[in-house]
Structure formats: C-alpha cells, structure tokens
Amino acid sequence: MKNFLNGIKNYFKEFGTAVAKGDFWTKSSLLVMGMGYFGRGQIIKGILMTLIEIGVILFTALFSVPYLAKFGTLGTVQREEVFDAATMTKTVNDYDNSLLILLFSVVGMLVLVAFVLLYLNNIKKVYELQVLKEKGKHINSFVEDVKSLFNGNFHITLLTLPSIGILVFTVVPLIFMICVAFTNYDQNHQPPTYLFTWVGLKNFKNLFTNSMTVSFGYAFVRILAWTLIWAVLATFTTYIGGILLAKFINNERTKCKKLWRTLFVVTIAIPQFVTLLLINKMFSDNGIINGLANQWGIVDALKEAGIIAQGQNGIPFLSQPGWAHVMIVLINIWVGVPYQMLIATGILMNIPNDQLESAKIDGATEFQIFWKITMPYMLFITGPSLITSIVSNINNFNVIYLLTNGYTTPNPTMANSQAKEIDLLVTWLFTLTNDYSNFKMASVIGIFVFIVCAGITLIGFTNLIKGDREEEFQ
C-alpha cells in the first residue's frame, strides 16, 4: 500500500519536474501533444500523438458529452408517444435511455482516464527527449521506435490488442454492473421506456433486511454457504479423482493404457451442455433411471425403508435438497475427472524419477510415496490453477443451471426470495435478471460474489506464489 502511494507521488513529481523544467517544445506539448516530438525531429511520432489527441477530443465532444452531461441524473425525459390513427404513424419525443447513458458515460470516462494517463506520460516522455537532446545523446528515429516495439518494448506490441479486448468486453460491462448496484434498475424502471436513477446504498441494505417478506438476507447467507462448499468440493473431488485415475491408468501393471485413457476422454468430446442436459433428463423424477428403478422395485423398496417420501414418483435425484446436492457434486466429478486425468497424466510423467527411485529404495510404501512426493509435486505445479478453478467453480453457471432446470425448492422462505437451495450465487443472479428483471439486486449479489472470490484468491495466492516463486522455476 505504501509502495503504491509512493508510486503515485513519484509519478506526479516527475510530471511536475517535466513541466517546470521543460523548454518551449516540452511546454507546448501541454497543448498539442505532438509538439515535443516535432521539436526533436520525430515528425511521424509527433503527428501520431497529435492525431490521438484530436481523436479523443472529437470522440468526447461528439459521442461522450451528451451522455456524460446526463450521468448525474441518468436522464430526465421519459419516452412519450402519440399515435395518429389516420396516418397510422406515431411520433415519439426525444427521450433519454438511462441504460445507454450509464453505459456510454462509463465508456466516455474510461477513454478520458486513459487519455489523461497518456497525456501525463507524454509530457514526461517529451521531457526525457529534451534532456537527451541537451546531453547530445542519440534520439531514436521512427524506424528505430518501430523496431523497439519488437524488441525492448515488445510487451507493448503483445499486450495492446488483448488489453483493448479486455477493456471493451470485460472492464466496461463490469463497471457498468457495479454502477447498477447503486441504482433502482428493476422491473418497474426498465429502459428504454422508463428511466432509472441513483439510489445510493439502498439495495445493499435490502440484502440484509431480514423480515418475512424481504427474505433476501436469509437466502443470501444460505446460497453463499452452498456456493463455497460447492466450489471447494467440486474443485478437490475432480482434482484428486483425476490424479488417482491418472495414477491408476499409468501404473505399470495396467494393460492397454491408451485404450482406458481414450474411454474416459470420450466423455469430453461431447459438449458439456449436451451431456448435462442429458443427465438432467436421465435423473429427473420421471426419467429413465427412475423408470428402471420403478420396474426393478427399487423405488418401492426405498419407500418401504422410509428413505423417500410416499408422495414421490421416484428417487428425487435432482429434485430434493440433499439428494440434489450430492448428485450435483457426483455429476460434476463425472464431468471434470477426465479433464483432470489428462492434465495429471502429463504432470505425473514429469516427476523426477530419481526422487521416486530413492524413496523406493528407502522402503517407502506406495501410499507414502503418493502423499509425500506425488501430491506435493502436483500441488507445486498446479497450485495457481487450483485457485483459479475454485474461482471458476464459484461462477460455474452451466453445471448448476442445466442440471437443476425444473427444481422447485421445498423451503418456502427460499421460494419467497426466488431462490433455491442448490442455486449458486451466479444462478440466483441469473434468475433475478432473466425472469424478474431485478438488475439492481443482481448487481449487488454480483459484487458480493466478487468479494468472496477476491478473498479466496488473496489468501490462496499470497500463500502459493509468495516471494516471486516464478523466478525460482526458471
């Protein structure tokens, strides 16, 4: 944190020096960004910089300003229309669209922020040039600059396109989403016909209000707990399952390794959503598994034993809490283990043989070798990816959504918040936006999902890649 603040301090200090000590060319760059380059003979670079400046100004003036001006209110003019029955046409007033105002204000602001950073940087660069010139040192020609983009500054070349992609399709939507959490964007305030506006922290308060009617808090806590349990279970069961299966198949006593491996890999070849929907249908209350279980008298036997209720048509694999929780984890093992098996196979074959040999000579059992050598090695290599897979399991929409299509919760309090026991935070959030257009609460939940994930990652990463272990590898 301190470093960070110091960094900012230095940044502005450098800028200050540049402005204070700059000569005419440097100072005039405050106005026209390319001037500093013109003065040192870097004509093309100067033109490019000036063009960027003009571009940003035009973009802001023509595109952003109309939106930014309304950012404070998110629009005031509601849509009104008049239908003329005689000509069968209608006239519509020039109305505001809160959603677009918010979204493009975010875009406009990001462009401005990026421009300010570029601008500050530019002054410093120009000042550096001035210093170089004063010392009579070599100043890069344009060709040399371009060349450096493939050598010393290669990272700029590499990162530009991916960064733009991430900015436009991840960062902008995300900031938008965070903003929505502070508005009243819900089914009664849907753009383009209606306006929504800022409401401050009201939605966050709502989440923790616990009364009979507003039971969001009740549902939230339960869903959060299940989300975490699920993420940990889903990650570790498939992880360990994958390693065990890989070990089992790669054991020297196993014949036809390739055949076995292929049998498991076949399941990956069919798109996940197909297999998940299929499994959902197989295990539904009146699905094929229950049909067979009925024919073989298993359902009746379970009813006799009191394991399932009399009113059930079959085994409630995916329709009762408890049953559904277990099934989802099992099915996820089914889905995930072949993947992990493949990855583990690769890594396992990589374990330095000398370690294994010496352990064997020392008389270690296979079990000991597994826990003392194999697992630490696996964890060492795959640690970071474990964290990311916990995070991606927290956001694992497909498995839950596709498997629990048609699940009704038996818990009325959950139902009152449009939630189900087997919902993850993300699927709950999807129901809220998709079925109930309740974007404001969904955004609030989204922010909490983020906080949870961030917490886990922080803990995980500080323990796993502390002290720049990446250098160690190399």
Binding site: L99, L100, L103, F150, N151, F154, H155, L158, L159, L161, P162, G165, I166, F169, T170, V171, L174, M177, F248, T254, K255, T262, L263, T267, I268, I270, P271, F273, V274, T275, L277, L278, K281, M282, G287, I288, G291, Q295, W334, P338, L342, G346, M349, N350, S385, N395, F397, N398, Y401, V426, F430, T433, A442, G446, F450, C453, A454, T457, F473, Q474
Partner: protein, 280 residues
C-alpha cells in the same frame, strides 16, 4: 498367483469405472438411433432402431432444426476464436512471463481481479456495447465476445513459459536476437503442448455456450443460430416430445469434430507435456 488376481481386479475396477463414465454416452448414442422421437422413460435401449434422426438432422432442415447451418456457424466461430484466442493467450503469457516492465505486476493482479466478477451479470452490458458496434446477430460479434477477453486466460500458459529455461533465451539474446525472434523462433516451437491445450479449450468454448449466444443472437430464424442455441432449443417443453432423439443425434454429430481434434491433439496434449522439452 496373487499377482494375477490383483491384476484382474485392477482391470475389473477400471472397466467398471469406464462403464460408469460411458453410460450417459451410450444412452446418448442409442437414443440417437431410436425410432421413437420423444424422451424414453422406461427403456434404456430403444424398441425400434432407426437412422432417421440423423437423416432429419442433416438433410431436412425445418423451422426447429437447421443443423447444417448451426454446424457451419459454430465451426466458423470455433475456428476463428481458437486462432484469435490462442494468439492472444500466447502474447499475454509471453509478455508476463518472459519480459520485465513496470506495469507487469499491477496488470497481473488486475487481470486476476477481473476474472472474479461473474460474467453472467455483465452480459446485458456486453450486449449493448456490441449493439452500438452494430454487431449483434452476426458471427463476427460472437467471435469478438468469445475471443476478446481470452487474454485473461494466460495464467496456465504463463506457468508453462516459466518452466522454459531462462538460459535458452539469454543465449539467444547474446547472439543478437530480438524479443520478437525469441518469441517466434524459440518459445513458440517449445510450447506445442500448451498451444494444443489452449487451442482445444478455446475451440470448445463457443460450442458449449448458449446463454451468451442466445442473448447476442436476436434472430429467431434457426438458420442464424449456433449448435448450442439450436440444441438447447430442442429441449423446450413443446418440442422435446418430437425432437429428443434428434437432439441426441445432434450431440453425437457435434462430438465428431471435437473427437477428431482430440485424437490428433491428444498425442501432444499428454506426450507434449511429458516429452522432456520442458525440463531441459
């Protein structure tokens, strides 16, 4: 003697496990050959066999099912995405792993943080960004969505690059090679397994996604859909009784290109990581 028994038990366990894993797949395949179009609830194997589901799927496009068009759309998206995503991932991973610059650490943390926001929620915003670009209802729009953020998936690839001995790069530098040359001539040729991994993953993503695709493709004309939207649509309440077997056939047909990809790539996927190119 004891050894043989152990050996047999080992293989029986494996066979049972494999069977367990294959049951849904077997059901998918046998149902795709069923003459009964609806969902089977009492018989695992169809009573009557028929090849008609495949014929319908491939040659009789109707208002519900236009598989050839879906397949074409998904194929275009899949191939384009896998090229763009793979390039992006390699680029970001190289910059983060092999180069040292000021913004590196902050950028890395920033991307980790970004990855934690639930994407489901920001979909609607993505949609409006795309709409403003005039790219909804187009394959290009979907390609952009699937590949634009792909740079964030660089972590595994970076981990791999980290294991490439630094001496290799340094000696090349001494010989006057630029970073660009090192990237294209040294690092990439050594990275076959991770490229394969990235290619497979990024090729698969568009085949699986229906939530995002359904939002971005507004057209309700089946010819404009992707495989995922189309197959998902077939399981709607009103259609499932007529199209379940066709859905299964669709699942099997989709598996073909993916399986081919795997068969070709599996060699690298596994052997590549183990081949010793990594640990010099």
């Amino acid at each position: 003697m004891k050894k043989t028994i152990k050996l047999i038990i080992r293989h029986i366990v494996l066979a049972l496990l494999a069977l367990f894993w294959l049951i849904p797949i077997i059901w998918l395949v046998v149902t795709s050959f069923s003459a009964h179009k609806g969902l089977a609830t009492n018989n695992f194997f169809p009573k009557q066999w028929s090849f008609d589901n495949y014929v319908q799927l491939l040659t009789r496009p109707d208002t519900v099912c236009n598989f050839p068009a879906w397949f074409k759309n998904s194929m275009i998206i899949g191939v384009a995405c896998c090229i763009i995503s793979t390039i992006f991932v390699l680029m970001v991973a190289y910059a983060m792993s092999c180069m040292r610059f000021k913004a590196r650490k902050p950028l890395m943390s920033f991307m980790i943080i970004l990855g934690m926001f639930p994407g489901v929620l920001s979909m609607i915003a993505v949609y409006f960004v795309l709409r403003e670009m005039g790219l909804t209802d187009s394959l290009l729009g979907l390609i952009m969505i699937y590949s634009a953020g792909s740079g964030m998936g660089y972590l595994i690839c970076k981990g791999f690059f980290d294991t490439i001995p630094i001496s290799l790069r340094e000696s090349a530098k001494l010989e006057g090679a630029s970073e660009f040359t090192i990237f294209t001539r040294i690092v990439i040729p050594l990275s076959k397994p991770i490229i394969v991994y990235t290619v497979i993953n990024s090729f698969l993503a568009p085949w699986m996604d229906f939530v995002m695709a359904r939002l971005m493709i507004k057209s309700k004309n089946p010819a404009d859909w992707t495989v995922a939207i189309g197959l998902f649509n077939m399981l709607q309440k009103t259609l499932i009784s007529e199209y379940f077997s066709v859905f299964c056939a669709g699942g099997v047909v989709v598996a073909i290109p993916i399986s081919i990809l795997f068969v070709i790539m599996q060699k690298f996927y596994v052997e590549g990581i183990t081949g010793g190119a990594v640990k010099g």
